[in-house]
């Protein structure tokens, strides 16, 4: 009885605290759409496709993203990359690359599967529309999203980790570094898993933050 009351009071205190804080600083309720909250860098929203420095497509049309996608939101038709005006760097390229936002569950598997790091998730989440077709993004729209989010310069990113140019195409290597660091860290701390912590730590790693700044122009 007494314990229940105590717990209730605790809860009320938090509510009241937030109420007061909110009046004072406006920290919890955001007046959307007048104001927009700043999303964390690993926010997983609409996909975007990336290009190389010479504006050729980074996607080689291997369809691994379509294969891994649990909700079958990606549809690709490959074709032979024309040698006289190459679309991409591989022998094949994606003639059709369609992403269906209505099916996507923003899991990021496709980003992870891509051997060319051609897919990066953006922070574009305002996709509401009254036409179903608008939610089916073809190649043009996906590249537009890239421009909107990251600008013209090629982006090097893998699961939201901005990386050095030399590390492109080496997800396994990166994962290895990551896991090694992680193991060391948790061994030392002797504590449980904390995603946020891990992310912060990764960004604070010198070598990563450099590229991060460079690419974002911060």
């Amino acid at each position: 009885m007494l314990e229940g009351l105590k717990a209730m009071l605790q809860g009320l205190i938090i509510t009241f605290k937030h109420f007061l804080l909110n009046i004072a600083t406006n920290r919890f309720t955001v007046q959307y759409p007048k104001k927009r909250r700043k999303l964390p860098d690993r926010a997983r929203w609409a996909l975007s496709l990336q290009w190389h420095e010479d504006l050729t497509e980074r996607c080689v049309g291997c369809q691994l993203c379509a294969a891994i996608c649990p909700s079958e939101a990606i549809y690709i038709e490959g074709a032979v990359n024309p040698l006289d005006s190459p679309v991409g760097k591989g022998e094949r390229y994606a003639m059709t690359w369609i992403w269906d936002a209505t099916r996507c569950l923003y899991c990021g598997f496709c980003v992870e599967a891509c051997p060319e790091e051609a897919i990066v998730m953006t922070k574009i989440y305002e996709m509401a529309t009254d036409r179903r077709e608008d939610l089916i993004w073809h190649k043009e729209r996906l590249y537009e999203a890239k421009k909107q989010q990251f600008g013209e310069k090629p982006t090097f990113a893998w699961m939201g980790f901005y990386r050095k140019r030399e590390e492109m195409g080496k997800p396994i290597e990166l994962a290895r570094i990551w896991h090694e660091q992680e193991e060391k860290y948790y061994k030392n701390r002797g504590k449980g898993f904390d995603m946020h912590d891990r992310y912060k730590r990764f960004l604070l790693d010198e070598r990563n933050i450099e590229v991060y700044k460079e690419d974002l122009g911060e």
Partner: protein, 809 residues
């Protein structure tokens, strides 16, 4: 029964079984590369090494090439075996480029699967890998020799099964390179099978190239419509599984991708035993080329009016009702169901027997085989090729029914005697598989009879198989028919030059007993006695000889209804054009040349508004007051079963197959897990007495223009396919080099042929297989209207006038 000990347990086996057979049967995991169930054992890759103990001695043996012996002990999962597998894989992967994201085999690659199961995760090899250029070996196949692991499956297939001689192995060790000589195109109609045989992506197909991935594909088991062999195939499409990814929705509805991605072989030991020809495999582009989309009616001012089915059918039915003497000609390309529906429309609703599918020059009142053998069909089967001691071929097998070539090569290797009677040397005689017996154009019968009497000793008391094409000299046909009827050890295999001719005969799409045949129908159209002509899946202007008669006939017929999939020239003469489905869009059954009735499943949705032909005939029957209540092709077939006696016990819609003990984890072998079988129609052969009047010999002197089939150009569908263009020489007449040189012509020269006062511009191409005096034109007449002067298979050339320089066609 002898026993071996497999992983510690006793297993019985039959004499002659290899360790691999036993292990797979027992469900043990043994990876293979060079072993292929349909190829001779090569045992060169060493992937299948297993640890074996025999008489106290232990060692590693290749399971695929080691016969089991009583008392053997075998381990497929011991440390030594695992180490061997691991090491062999590491070695095989040394030079493999690992370009899986780019490679077409990715996802159905033996190397990928086996590496994941048994292989090393990391390479210790730190040196540059060997590299080769990508090789272009023809319009069908791409060669990526860098990926090759030297398993020799391709060479084994090409030499022993396909009988080809232009696939070589160059160099040795790491630098082993497979393929034809430099800058040469493959010249074997079975070359496409290399794609399926290669365990990885070193050989890939150009039609499939990079379009999609194996896991996106649905394989539809069906029948190749290209020739009368009825090869069993898997048609791979990407579509319409209700929840699968696919072309995305458009306005709320899922769009279908109207495209066949590739075609692969399907095993049916009685018919094509897994191997299919390049014509079956690579001609499928036509499904999207030049198609008729909706019913078109000709308005009074001569323009086309795009109509809907109801209006079109009503209008056609009204005209058909008014017609006094309607007729139908066909190319025997539809299904049995459609043929039966057409027969019902004519024989039972209109009560007119004017229906025929044969070409006019072959449309005889008396079918020679029927008259002599009692039923117009082969009484032998394709499998008889494997048993016969002597095989006598009349005609060009490679250009008409190429699929049986696999068995011809095998028969020749087995030591059977093969003779080919043909005016020119065709593939099998040219490559030395058979002996060529020249036949003079115009004197075929005499040459045939004198051949038989000359070689009497060789044929005596032997089992003889006659393989004749159904457009060979009718006198030869009746001679063979009678011979086969009288002699038990002689069998006949009648090669149908039209794909479903046997089915059309069986279901009664023929003018018997009192109707008009094609020749008479065309004659009737010309003189106005036929006032309604249906042209169904045949292009008379391209296929029939004597084009002027055909043109006049079409012009003089008041109402021409064309049932076709394509905007071909005869639609110009049509009053109405109804779009029908192509074979891969239509469900039904087809009968092959020996009487196997096989189910073909529809792989694609019908193109736009096209419908199967039986549906159109059904609508016409209903509109004319007949009775047809079929709702599907299956309903039609159940009616066929009641009416057509040979088909009484058949159930082709229930496709039968057995499963083999092959493992699931090797993609190229997984394909062979299912063995399909078809049922044969039962024909009654009741021979009749039939007198043959020996024909008068008409031997032409001088230069003869001779028409012959062509594997691609002669096919109603295949020639439309852009992929095969390099093998189709348009506007070309083939001559022997001596003849060409005598005329002062070079290979590729442009000339004007003067025949019967008409001039035709053609290109000359040397072909050393053709004897002097013969000028061979092949395939359909869509490029040069030589059928204006060809009233039958040959005509005399009056003059050859060279024009211009060598311009390659």
């Amino acid at each position: 029964m002898p026993k071996i000990e497999l992983n510690g347990r006793e297993v019985e086996f039959r004499e002659g079984e290899t360790l691999l057979n036993i292990a797979w049967r027992e469900g043990e995991n043994v990876p293979v590369f060079c072993y292929h169930p349909k190829l001779p054992v090569f045992a060169g890759c060493r992937m299948c090494l297993v640890e074996v103990e025999m008489r106290g001695r232990k060692g590693l043996m290749p399971a695929c090439g080691t016969k089991a012996m009583d008392g053997m002990k075998v381990w497929t999962n011991s440390e030594a075996t695992k180490f061997a597998q691991h090491s062999v894989l590491e070695l095989l992967l040394l030079n493999h480029p690992l370009d899986c994201p780019n490679c077409d085999a990715g996802g159905e690659c033996d190397l990928q699967e086996i590496t994941f199961m048994h292989g090393p995760t990391r390479s210790r090899y730190k040196f540059p890998k060997r590299k080769f250029e990508i090789r272009d070996v023809g319009p069908f196949i791409d060669l990526y020799p860098t990926r090759c692991i030297q398993c020799y499956r391709c060479a084994t297939f090409y030499w022993t099964i396909g009988g080809g001689k232009d696939w070589a192995v160059f160099d040795r060790g790491w630098y082993t390179l497979f393929g034809p000589e430099k800058d040469k195109f493959l010249n074997n109609e079975f070359s496409g099978n290399l794609i399926e045989v290669c365990p990885l992506g070193a050989i890939t197909g150009k039609d499939y190239k990079f379009f999609t991935r194996p896991w996106e594909i649905e394989s539809v088991p069906t029948i190749s419509p290209e020739d009368s062999l009825g090869a069993n195939v898997y048609v791979d499409v990407r579509r319409r599984k209700p929840f699968s990814r696919g072309p995305f929705v458009k306005a709320g509805r899922r769009e279908d991708l109207h495209k066949i991605i590739r075609i692969n072989g399907r095993e049916n030991p009685d018919i094509n035993e897994f191997w299919i020809t390049d014509r079956d495999r690579f001609s499928h582009e036509y499904n999207n080329i030049n198609r008729v989309d909706y019913p078109h009616l000709k308005t009074e001012d001569g323009s086309w009016f795009k109509s809907n089915w109801n209006v079109a059918l009503d209008w056609i039915a009204t005209n058909l009702k008014k017609a006094k003497n309607p007729a139908i000609i066909s190319g025997a390309r539809g299904t049995n169901e459609s043929a039966y529906a057409a027969r019902k429309l004519f024989k039972e609703t209109l009560l007119i027997n004017n229906l025929d599918f044969r070409k006019p020059h072959l449309a005889l009142k008396n079918d020679p085989i029927k008259a002599t053998l009692g039923y117009s069909s082969s009484n032998g089967s394709v499998a008889d090729i494997d048993r016969a001691e002597v095989i006598i071929i009349v005609g060009d097998v490679r250009e008409t029914v190429p699929g049986i070539g696999i068995r011809l090569v095998r028969a020749s290797r087995r030591g059977a005697k093969l003779f080919v009677l043909n005016p020119y040397k065709e593939r099998y005689s040219y490559e030395g598989w058979a002996e060529w017996v020249p036949m003079r154009v115009g004197g075929e019968y005499k040459d045939f009879v004198s051949f038989l009497s000359d070689r009497k000793d060789e044929l005596m008391d032997k089992s003889v198989l006659f393989i004749i094409s159904d457009d060979s000299d009718p006198n030869i046909q009746s001679f063979i028919g009678r011979d086969v009827a009288l002699n038990e050890r002689h069998k006949l295999l009648l090669l149908r030059t039209l794909p479903n001719a046997q089915g059309f005969i069986d279901v009664g799409f023929s003018p018997e007993p009192d109707g008009l045949n094609t020749k008479e129908i065309l004659e009737g159209c010309r003189n106005g006695s036929i006032d309604f002509l249906i042209i169904w899946e045949v292009e008379p202007l391209w296929e029939y000889f004597d084009r002027e008669t055909v043109e006049e006939a079409l012009r003089n017929t008041p109402f021409v209804l064309v049932l076709t999939s394509f905007w071909d020239p005869s639609t110009e003469y049509a009053s109405a054009v109804l779009p029908i489905t192509t074979p891969y869009e239509e469900e039904g059954t087809r009968t092959n040349l020996e009487g196997y009735v096989q189910y073909c499943k529809d792989a694609l949705w019908p193109y736009e508004g096209s419908r199967p032909a039986w549906w159109i005939f059904k609508q016409l029957i209903i509109r004319l007051g007949g009775d047809a209540s079929w709702r599907s092709a299956k309903d039609v077939f159940s009616e066929i079963k009641d009416v057509i006696i040979p088909y009484k016990d058949l159930d082709p819609y229930d496709v039968k197959y057995e499963e083999r003990d092959f493992p699931d984890y090797i993609p190229t072998i997984r394909k062979l897990k299912r063995v399909f079988r078809s049922d044969k129609a039962r024909y009654e052969f009741v021979p009749e007495e039939f007198e043959i009047a020996p024909p008068e010999e008409r031997h032409i002197k001088g230069r003869i223009l001779y028409w012959s089939h062509h594997i691609y150009k002669g096919s109603y569908w295949a020639f439309r396919n852009p992929l095969q263009k390099p093998y189709i020489h348009d506007k070309t007449v083939f001559v022997s080099p001596e003849e060409g040189m005598k005329e002062g012509l070079k290979d590729g020269d442009r000339v004007i042929l003067k025949v019967k006062n008409m001039e035709f511009e053609v290109f000359i191409r040397y072909d050393e297989r053709i004897p002097a005096g013969l000028w061979v034109f092949k395939g359909l007449f869509y490029d040069v209207p030589l059928n204006k002067v060809l009233k039958e298979r040959y005509a005399e050339i009056e003059d050859v006038i060279p024009v211009g320089d060598a311009v390659k066609s």
